[in-house]
Symmetry: C2
Subunit: 516 residues, 2 copies
């Protein structure tokens, strides 16, 4: 970063002249002014901390209104966070309007890492008095919309604490939607180049288009949350419960106000509302904009949405039939229970209406599978993502057909569009790191003393940002509190890796990233 120019390089021509071999016309590798990427990153992180500090005032106000001394914890955290944010803003006054690939990686990773630490402050300062380990785990779990928790006694916890957990998930949800719609396609992470638009293709505009899209998405997200809130109110949820669950359902996070999760309310109508909200959170948010702009057909023509709904229907259908026949439950009850459990797991939310671990081993196996699959890209859901499975599946079937008729060209497609071999390799690389990480984290967790089911399902649930694992400890009716500290740090790392789609953090470990 030694180029002395105070402005970004003039144009794509210059880049093309420097680019060896491949000759891509994109202006993504240009030199930046000295220190500029760090200034840009510091500036963005500063803004984010100021917003975070502002968000901390909401639970503080709640606690203050209820005369709960916990308000001071939030206030202290807000002060420290806001001070740091303002300091960063002052120290980095001139952000670059353009952003090269390297800075974009650095920016994305820094934002999530920094917020994970500052967001944990209320848990440390407040009445919860969590250890640093537990506080960071809870915050990362919230921000990544995973929903694994180390806090027990939610039923009697102060409202400020419950609200903060919900806010973390809600902010993490909108955060990943924006990252998934703009940043990851720009960075070509794990096949996300498939979702590039004109605006995500131009590095000069990346910050501006991120801000523009973030604004529109935030408005949409707020309206959807308000809708869910009103629907839950209509079903008889109290103000606070409706607020928290609207936020954690749409973000597919799954934090609840009760230890028994949704099951504690025994409210069938509310369960239907939450099924719809979780599903809404797992569909690509860009499609909602299309609906708003009068092109609702795009929603149903999206291949990801189609397959997601097909999987939900198939899994929930089989499950409902089994609950009807083997457990002799009422039809509405069976269908709702099956749908709720399937949608909660597939959308990686993790709400529990009842403990489906008692539904038998096949259900566990099926859910473990569906968990890893996850929702659509550009949504708040985690997992490998539907489109990646579709791309690898299309490639595998095309390859199978090419074996039968070696001289016939069998095109690989995604939703009718032909796809390039490079895209398949990008997706297969993502899956390689996903499965590799799953294996490594499973072994590490087992080495830390966890039993095999807890280790394997814990690694999966963290990487896929689901929430509950399998087994008596971390299953839907357990918590992550009893795990050793080292396991909690490993799982926190796994949640961030999964949320940022591996490559965003892995590039930072690549020696070439730090070479001039």
């Amino acid at each position: 970063m030694s180029a002395p120019s105070p402005r970004p390089a003039a144009g794509p021509l210059e880049t093309a002249a420097r680019a060896p071999g491949r000759g891509r016309p994109l202006a993504r590798d240009r030199a930046s002014p000295a220190g500029a990427p760090y200034a840009t990153v510091a500036h963005a992180v500063g803004w984010l901390l100021v917003v975070l500090a502002g968000a901390m005032l909401a639970p503080a106000a709640f606690d203050l209104a209820e005369r709960n001394p916990d308000w001071s914890g939030f206030a202290a955290a807000a002060a420290l966070t806001g001070f740091t944010g303002v300091a960063l803003l002052l120290a980095s006054r001139r952000p670059e309007p353009s952003l090269d690939v390297r800075s974009a990686f650095l920016l994305t990773a820094s934002c999530w890492l920094v917020v994970s630490f500052f967001g944990a402050l209320p848990f440390v300062f407040g009445v919860a008095h969590l250890s640093i380990t537990d506080a960071v785990f809870e915050t990362v779990s919230g921000l990544t919309t995973t929903g694994s928790t180390v806090i027990t006694g939610l039923d009697t916890a102060p409202r400020g604490l419950l609200l903060w957990r919900a806010l973390l998930q809600w902010m993490g949800g909108i955060g990943i939607v924006v990252v998934g719609l703009v940043i990851l396609p720009f960075l070509r992470v794990g096949g996300m180049q498939l979702f590039r638009t004109e605006s995500s293709d131009r590095s000069e505009k990346i910050l501006a288009s991120t801000a523009a899209i973030a604004g529109r998405m935030l408005a949409l997200y707020t309206v959807m949350t308000a809708g869910c809130f009103l629907a839950l109110r209509a079903c008889g949820f109290g103000l606070f419960d409706a607020l928290v669950h609207a936020m954690t359902a749409l973000s597919t996070g799954g934090y609840s106000t009760r230890d028994a999760s949704i099951g504690a309310f025994a409210n069938p109508a509310a369960e239907w509302v939450l099924i719809a909200a979780m599903l809404a959170g797992a569909l690509p948010f860009s499609r909602y904009l299309a609906v708003v702009y009068g092109r609702p057909r795009l929603l149903l023509e999206d291949p990801q949405i189609r397959l997601l709904l097909l999987i939900v229907a198939a899994v929930a259908g089989v499950l409902a039939l089994w609950l009807l026949l083997a457990q002799a439950r009422e039809p509405e009850d069976a269908i709702r229970a099956a749908l709720f459990a399937t949608v909660s797991v597939l959308t990686t939310t993790g709400f529990g209406a009842e403990d489906w671990q008692t539904w038998g081993t096949p259900v566990l196996g099926l859910f473990l599978l569906v968990t890893v699959l996850g929702g659509c890209t550009g949504s708040t859901a985690g997992g490998i993502k539907i489109f990646r499975v579709q791309i690898l599946g299309s490639a595998a079937l095309a390859y199978l057909a090419s074996l039968v008729h070696p001289n016939r060209v069998v095109p690989m497609r995604f939703g009718g569009r032909p796809i390039e071999p490079d895209l398949v390799i990008a997706v297969s690389s993502f899956v390689f790191f996903f499965i590799g990480s799953w294996a490594v984290f499973s072994v590490v967790l087992a080495a830390l003393g966890l039993d095999l089911v807890t280790a394997i399902s814990g690694a999966a649930t963290a990487l896929a940002n689901v929430g509950p694992g399998l087994g008596p400890v971390i299953g839907p009716s357990g918590t992550f509190a009893p795990l050793p500290d080292a396991a909690k740090w490993a799982l926190s790392l796994a949640m961030l890796l999964g949320r940022l789609e591996f490559f965003t953090l892995l590039v930072l470990l690549h020696p070439a990233f730090w070479r001039r």
Copy 2:
């Protein structure tokens, strides 16, 4: 197959003229004479059955010498098998010298399926009196060199029965070596085109080169088996035990003459011999020919062999250290136990010197991982195969590097050789079907009533052709006998799918395969 010509099409020119689009110069899609592929397949299967009938006479002779009435079961099975084989030979007197892709798929699948059923006859006719389900399971497990067993009481079983199990593995071992060296590269199955040679590229010569390579490999395999037999004798093994274990170690099958497997002998020297034999069985056999022809360097330069040895050293090293420190065992004992267990699992043999399930959860997790990985291609070992992991890993790292520097070309390599995107897609398609099958079989086995660990590890051990699973039922100290019949059929199918690398069976399900 309605072309009236009695001879194969004239040359590659004609094919190229017919080939739409891609224009590959390979003569692989040519028309065959009417009925010719079925005649060729029937002829090859006929020969195989005659050989199988001959092999059945060996255990018959053993039993007769020991005045065990079981000999009549082998004799009856041999008669039925030999009769069917001769009938097929007579009914299909004129085999085609050439083989198109379609016939090659049909031939490979038919051979394994037919031998799986005829090979089961001695178990049904003999004193073991297994059910058809158990007999086919045991035979498929043998032929695929998996080594899972439904037979208990091996210690007192007649020698003919024990010899037949060992012979199935030994024949299955040489069978898959030949298929892996010639047929799969010719069929381009799951990236095996990487191992094409001049001889596997020409469809006119495929049968002749298969026969030539099979002859050389059989000689090599016999010499290696004899060497292992003599070494085991030198360590104090009896004639019969040395014979059986030499055959089942080199074929990485893992059938033993004792219920307690190798542990029953408490013979450290023999364990070292078996470690070497299992490893030898998991290396690519083509490299041994290079050694014979005076180019031993090729053995150590093979990237698959290097990574395999590296993994063995790393896993066994950690394990040995742990046995030394935590269990305070003697150095030689710890190293041998660690090496034996690691090599037995990684080479997908499944011999047990001691029950490593008691070594703790991390070992289980590590072994589950290593199991799925498997050995080298062109060997008798199963699993995904080392080279596939190397290719996907190289592609993933190249992709990661390309994210850091979008304008720099980062080549994907295997052992220094650049690889094409098509190859990566072929490998990723293989892994897609492997993981997809693993998921489907896990859910099916769970639905059949197996517990989660048994279902998941059972599906893995069958698909990867390992042998023992995890847990109390099918773990290293258990057997597959208590499983329900449906689970045994599912596992038999899984073993064949894994052994024939998925595509060889899956193409038969493709509608285009049967279309004229």
